[in-house]
Symmetry: C2
Subunit: 412 residues, 2 copies
């Protein structure tokens, strides 16, 4: 008898009828002999509605009160879901974050899970009940309600799977799984059957929205097998598992892109120790996350510094940089918002050289200039002009044969 955690997002439980459909789907798994824990998000639109009310009430809503307010969204779905299961002839019980209890730190609106009591869930599972847990929420030691931040229900599901030693954590969503790239711009995009935690982490942080990055990193730590699949079909989706579980890794597993960043260059600053800190401290003090950084030294003791920031923070970052440039007597500050970051990800890269250079060749063949490049052990990212995004993604997808199994070839 397997223990399975299933998580359904807001669109999957967006109406009375959809909650009923989820209930009968969960009952299927339960009647097949599985012990079931079901994590639910708020009905789609509800969290935004509640946050909207909060902002009407207070310019910057009090975080503790905001959490108490917003957590009602999941409370509504889990109690309705338990009713739906009972109406369909099953037995279910709903538990809120504090009823489980899911202990978190006190960082309201983006709390981290410290520990989970398994006892109460176990008790209800032993009674044969389907246990439905409100996603996204927890409780502090002093009994205050916390929330885990956007995407927090994924984290709840994986954390419960880890705490209860579940056999699998299934994340139901509106797509069929993780794809080699966005099917919206590349019709050869293919569903990936197995992907490693590390690859999924890179994909998630590079813009794939299918799974929350914190959930993936928790799944990796506790070795929770995660199954990303569709609410609306019974097709097998994508399994996110340890690398050792994947017989043969693809050279490149996925290609992602993001148009959410902007590029800033500060030109001809004195190339001396501590210069990077002088430039980036004021930016991080303003709460702006810098992603890629490239330093380009000139002759004569000067250097150019190029980096990317989220487009939403572009104006503020430019303002700060113009001040800094004056202090440092830099030549100029220039910026570009019409950029995209295209990345290739695959654990196969670890052992095979030449992936990056293949990528560069393809880009060059298509006449696409790469403005910045960064690499990690299992990914290569390039910043290009935004207008080439789709072209680059399709060309890379073809070149690395992501529409087929692209197993690494012996090098000699």
């Amino acid at each position: 008898m397997a223990l399975i955690v299933q998580k359904f997002g807001g669109t999957s439980v967006g109406s009375i009828e959809k909650i009923k459909a989820v209930a009968s789907r969960v009952l299927e798994s339960h009647r097949a002999g599985n012990r079931m824990i079901v994590v639910l998000s708020a009905m789609s639109g509800e969290t935004d509605r509640l946050i909207g009310m909060a902002h009407e009430m207070q310019h910057i809503p009090d975080p503790r009160e905001l959490d108490a307010l917003v957590s009602t969204g999941e409370q509504v779905t889990v109690s309705l879901f338990a009713m739906a299961v009972k109406a369909a002839g099953g037995d279910a019980v709903s538990l809120l974050g504090d009823q489980v209890a899911i202990h978190t730190d006190q960082m309201h609106t983006r709390a981290r899970i410290d520990s989970i009591d398994a006892a109460r869930i176990q008790h209800f599972l032993d009674q044969g009940k389907i246990v439905t847990v409100a996603g996204f929420q927890g409780v502090t030691d002093s009994g205050d309600i916390t929330t885990l931040g956007r995407g927090g229900s994924d984290t709840t599901a994986v954390a419960l799977a880890a705490a209860l030693k579940a056999d699998a954590c299934e994340i139901f969503t509106d797509v069929e799984g993780v794809f080699t790239t966005d099917p919206g711009i590349c019709d050869k995009a293919r569903k990936i059957d197995f992907i490693s935690y590390d690859e999924m982490l890179e994909l998630a942080s590079l813009g794939a929205k299918v799974l929350d990055i914190r959930a993936v990193s928790m799944a990796k730590r506790f070795k929770v097998p995660v199954h990303v699949r569709s609410t609306f079909t019974h097709t097998v989706g994508t399994w996110v598992v340890g690398e050792e579980k994947i017989m043969e890794s693809m050279l490149v597993s996925g290609i992602t892109y993001s148009k959410k960043e902007a590029r800033i260059t500060i030109k001809k600053v004195p190339d001396q120790p501590g210069i990077a800190a002088k430039i980036f401290l004021p930016i991080s003090d303003a709460g702006i996350l810098v992603d890629m950084i490239i330093q380009n030294a000139h002759d004569g003791g000067f250097t150019d510094m190029t980096f990317t920031v989220p487009k939403d923070d572009y104006a503020r970052a430019m303002e700060i940089l113009n001040k800094v440039a004056k202090e440092l007597h830099a030549e100029s500050v220039t910026g570009d918002q019409d950029i995209a970051k295209v990345s290739i990800v695959g654990v196969g890269m670890r052992n095979y050289a030449g992936i990056a250079s293949t990528m560069f060749q393809i880009m060059s063949k298509e006449g696409i200039n790469m403005m910045m490049v960064t690499t990690s052990e299992i990914k290569v990212s390039a910043v290009i002009a935004a207008k080439y995004t789709e072209l680059a993604v399709r060309a890379l997808h073809d070149a690395f044969a992501l529409d087929k199994d692209n197993l690494p070839q012996e090098e000699d």
Copy 2:
């Protein structure tokens, strides 16, 4: 420095703007130097909306899950209210039933309060915060959310006032206080300044909707002074207090009426011991509350039994009675839904005879037939044809001079 509990109902907190208005009203009292506990209901319409969803989900919603669902209504208002107070420059903290904690029994949807922990509220009051508590909800020993039934927020407020030994419990509503009768049908109706717990209990159980009967009975037990007043004006409302606090009691304090009952007569049943049980047991087993009962013995060992039931249960009661009548060989079962119950209430009746007979004279003078009469120490109720309701109320209001102080006259 007085400690005051203020309770605002659903219409008082029915929108963002109204919650802001309540917040500034509460802040006024706080800045005047009072320690404040504020009990709030759900925004008007919200509880019905949630119950509606539950019924779409399950024919008879699971009571535990229904409580978890419905309690979100108050959770939303208290957190929004705390934000509103903070936005207006004050300091507030919201507490849910389980956070206080308000311990109840396990009777979901109509739980009773067993005890209240004063410590956490006291802690926040000592910090100078306005403590806002979700009305209507509590928690069982096993951590399940319960609700106290309709009107439960009044009970929450009075219970908190009792537990924290508050100086007053103010119930804010959309009327100016308790009136001598319904101003809608009698333009001489007058706001009552002081009324005793016992009179208020009678008025509440006889149909006055201004205050929940359980709240009144709890206020009486713990001697909590209750102030019923309007959300929309600063006028002093009605104080509900112990009889000993009222210098001079009115002979008759109020006149109420109810059109929610129906009358049933079962004719010529054998007048033998146990006959009442045979008639009323099947009715109470069906969960139907019988109010007035009159037994009228005939010659020859027979008796008629007349009683009232809620109109909503009339059809079911008639069905049951027809069966019972057959078994008992009764002559017939007749019913009448076009009735009203008109009552006069006043502690002054205790010491002064002749109140009932004055009432009978007035009814007779107006040509109104009384079908049933019951009396208690401080009230007289009469069942009359529904069409005479307004006439009866106005005539009694005049006769007992409720538009003026009707202090008892010395009898000799």
